[in-house]
Amino acid sequence: MRPDDLLHPTPQGLFCPAGNFHIDPVRPVETALITHGHADHARAGHGRVLATAQTLDIMAIRYGDGFAGATQATGDGPIRINDVEVRFHPAGHVLGSAQIAVEHDGMRIVAAGDYKRGSDPTCADFEPVPCDVFITEATFALPVFRHPGPQDEIAKLLTSLKDFPERAHLVGVYALGKAQRVIRLLRDAGYDEEIYIHGALQTLCDYYRSQGIELGALAPATRDDLSKEHFAGRVILGPPSAFAAKWAQRFPDPVIAFASGWMQVRARIRQRGVELPLVISDHCDWSELIQTIEEIDPSEVWVTHGREEALVRWCELNQRRARSLHLVGYEDEVE
């Protein structure tokens, strides 16, 4: 059997004919295996969804209880679908995120979904799984991406709070994963003031807490009884889209920060009108991608969404078989 017979790209997403299921399909399908809860990977409207219990919870929070015809939570063990054995392993990306190992006739392909290698107390660490084909994301797959330590980036935010005690600090974060990670990093750096959050972050922060992740004191950022001055020198987290809106005008002379792996490139920083870039990423940087490929040492690497060309090139230079899957539908911007 060739790897392509086990799993191959289709317009719906990666498809496994022997198991008759798709992985992270971008259009409604009969059976979907979902790596994690980010909206471009986890869509509503499939017949059946198989995912980790946390990913299913997150999908229910986002789309409501009827987001799929039927759902099944995976545990640690293998699951048979027709003749195919699948198994979910932690991916270290966000809470509930998993890599999906698909095995049939002695061939194993691991679709890693989105993943990272740095430690993150808000989710389980990535687990390297030996395999024949490793399917890696390529969001930050260029040698210019080398993410600094997240605690150094958080230190920049703390310094700015000291330098500009009269200004509110608005930190742009995505609701799933990044928000909770930034809060956790602040707490671990000893920041124990109340942190204010935009309404769009509330339910997912509550959910993280229900899963045992300590986030400290959080308060809604929009309360009518608080004056503008109240927010001077405070940290307010919100989705970046909110900062352009009227919502941001309630805060005094805000310093606009954004926590994202994209913040390493000046043009991206300027494009977003960011004054305080925080390079904090939920994805691997270049050296982590390479480290992972070398560590897993698969006989073939498939590369999807992001800068596929560069990673395929690196594989060629290092005598590794690699190809780009050209899957469409996965967002570049959303981390």
Binding site: L142, V144, V265, A267, R268, I269, E275, E309, A310
Partner: protein
């Protein structure tokens, strides 16, 4: 170097003018001589470093990195210095003062330079590497105009900015005497430069509705020529040619400088001749942004100045005189100049606005961009005052074309399909590309087009996607452009000048877009 690299990064990210001024003032106040002067010169691009060519940097990169990986990175980042600063790996662990970096760069011979630069890159962190490379390649662009830097100096020393502007061309980095004066530790430096730059007066765009409020008899009209605005100053035997921002561009125009046999300062348009005619802007471009110029270029693209105004004659400052008076003096003055190198901008006679509009619609020369209106009583003041001078540009040409290909943008737009190739219908009912545009739309429209491209991709070739473009399905773009030339390189046989998207015609079916015949009719004979 650390303070300097931090200043650069913060200047770039600070949107407000006041914020930038504050950063510069803080830098002048906290960094000692001579570093602050070199930092200032780097920002105003007055630092004359023995420049390092991008080719040399590419050579350094080629020794360490795969060419293809570097190309992909550069494509994404959109800036050579930034790409190298991010991709470089070194042991780090050593900075040094900016002044020392400048001195070492200046002292290094051509053959020593690569080793010097790569040694510094190895020792510096990413931000300092970026600053070093911007410094060494002379590509410093931090959103600070030379004028803003001078304003920061003025605020720092609590003096008037015109005092700084007038002194500026007599001063050299690291400006120790200037800083001593601004610190209150020394006397004001003497005006050392002959033929200094005089800050330029600019026109504001005319909204046609405004004409009703203006009286024709208060104004003089002349053509707006499509060259570059310059100031030719010649006093006490010193001859200088300045751009409108005060950059000294004398070295690129020895032909003009050689014929500046006068005592005064002329404001005019720099143009290039082609036989008896004025050459298009593309020919003038052959002479711009050069440190030196070859004999061949001098002969193929001879430059001349079409004079608009006279700012100084002998020791007399004419700027406080009304424009009508200055124009008389200019006509006299220009009569004595070598006619091949200097001529007088002709005025356009008109009785009322309708007559002028008619003249504007049929300009006598293709190198005319529109009409300038100047109040007869206007004194010459720096900047862009509202009211005394107007520019009334020619209307652009407009066609409807169909989006055919989209390419990922660079830098800031690298996540969007932002470069569009569009076409019109041939006689055989096929689309033929006629141009490419990457501006003219809002960020919101960019997102809409990007989505359309992603949803309707037919094929992908690297960063380019072909898009569905059929008679009944596709995206029609209204394209504005300034003119059309014949082109052998393009399949359509035409090349557009300054094309840009003027409107998205979501409402229009592609078969209603323009045909190639429409464009062919616009071609010059």
């Amino acid at each position: 170097m650390k303070a300097f690299s931090e200043l650069l990064d913060r200047l770039v990210l600070t949107p407000s003018r006041n914020g930038k001024l504050r950063l510069l003032e803080d830098y002048f106040a906290s960094v000692p001589d001579p570093d602050r002067g070199y930092g200032l010169a780097a920002i105003t691009r007055d630092l004359d470093l023995r420049s390092v060519k991008p080719a040399m940097l590419r050579g350094l990169v080629a020794e360490r990195f795969d060419e293809e990986l570097f190309r992909l990175s550069y494509d994404y980042v959109g800036d050579l210095a930034e790409t190298i600063s991010l991709i470089w790996e070194g042991p780090g662990g050593g900075t040094r003062p900016l002044s020392q970096v400048v001195e070492q760069l200046n002292a290094a011979s051509r053959s020593d330079a690569p080793a010097l630069i790569s040694g510094m890159l190895d020792r510096f962190g990413p931000a300092e590497r970026y600053a070093l490379l911007k410094l060494a390649t002379g590509g410093m662009r931090v959103g600070v105009s030379s004028r803003l830097a001078k304003q920061a100096l003025a605020r720092f020393g609590d003096v008037d900015v015109t005092e700084i502007e007038e002194l500026w061309h007599g001063l050299d980095p690291p400006y120790v005497s200037l800083f001593a004066w601004l610190d209150g530790q020394g006397p004001k430096p003497a005006q050392a430069a002959a033929s200094p730059f005089r800050p330029v007066m600019l026109a504001s765009p005319l909204a046609e509705a405004e004409l009703e409020t203006l009286r024709p008899q208060d104004f003089m009209a002349e053509w707006k020529w499509d060259g570059i605005r310059v100031q030719a100053a010649s006093q006490d035997g010193v001859r200088r040619l300045y751009s409108r921002t005060g950059d000294d561009i004398s070295a690129a125009f020895p032909d003009v400088i050689g014929d500046m046999d006068f005592d005064g300062a002329i404001d005019g348009e720099l143009l290039v001749r082609k036989g008896d005619a004025i050459a298009p802007f593309s020919d003038l471009q052959q002479r711009l942004n050069r440190k030196t110029v070859s004999k061949a270029k001098l002969q193929a693209f001879p430059a001349f100045i079409r004079a608009y105004d006279l700012l100084h004659e002998g020791a007399e400052n004419l700027r406080p005189l009304p424009f009508a008076k200055r124009r008389e003096r200019l006509e006299d003055f220009a009569g004595h100049l070598p006619s091949g190198r200097f001529d007088l901008s002709p005025t356009i006679p008109f009785k009322d606005w309708a007559e002028l509009a008619e003249a504007r619609a049929a300009p006598p020369d293709p190198v005319i961009e529109g009409v300038m209106l100047k109040r007869l009583d206007s004194i010459y003041v720096p900047g862009r005052p509202k009211g005394p001078w107007f520019k009334w540009k020619r209307d652009p040409f407009i066609i409807d074309a169909v989006l055919m290909y989209a390419q990922r943008g660079h830098g800031k737009r690298s996540s969007f399909y932002s470069d569009y190739t569009f076409g019109v219908w041939t006689r055989d009912g096929e689309l033929v590309p006629v141009g490419k545009a990457y501006f003219g739309f809002t960020d919101e429209e960019l997102r809409q087009i990007d989505k359309f491209v992603r949803d309707n991709t037919r094929e992908r070739f690297g960063p380019v996607r072909s898009v569905r473009a059929e008679p009944d399905f596709g995206l029609v773009l209204e394209v504005a452009f300034e003119g059309l030339n014949r082109s052998k390189r393009h399949k359509s046989g035409v090349a557009m000048r300054f094309p840009r998207i003027s409107r998205l015609r979501w409402d229009k079916p592609p078969h209603e877009a323009d045909r190639i015949e429409t464009l062919e009719a616009l071609l010059p004979d």
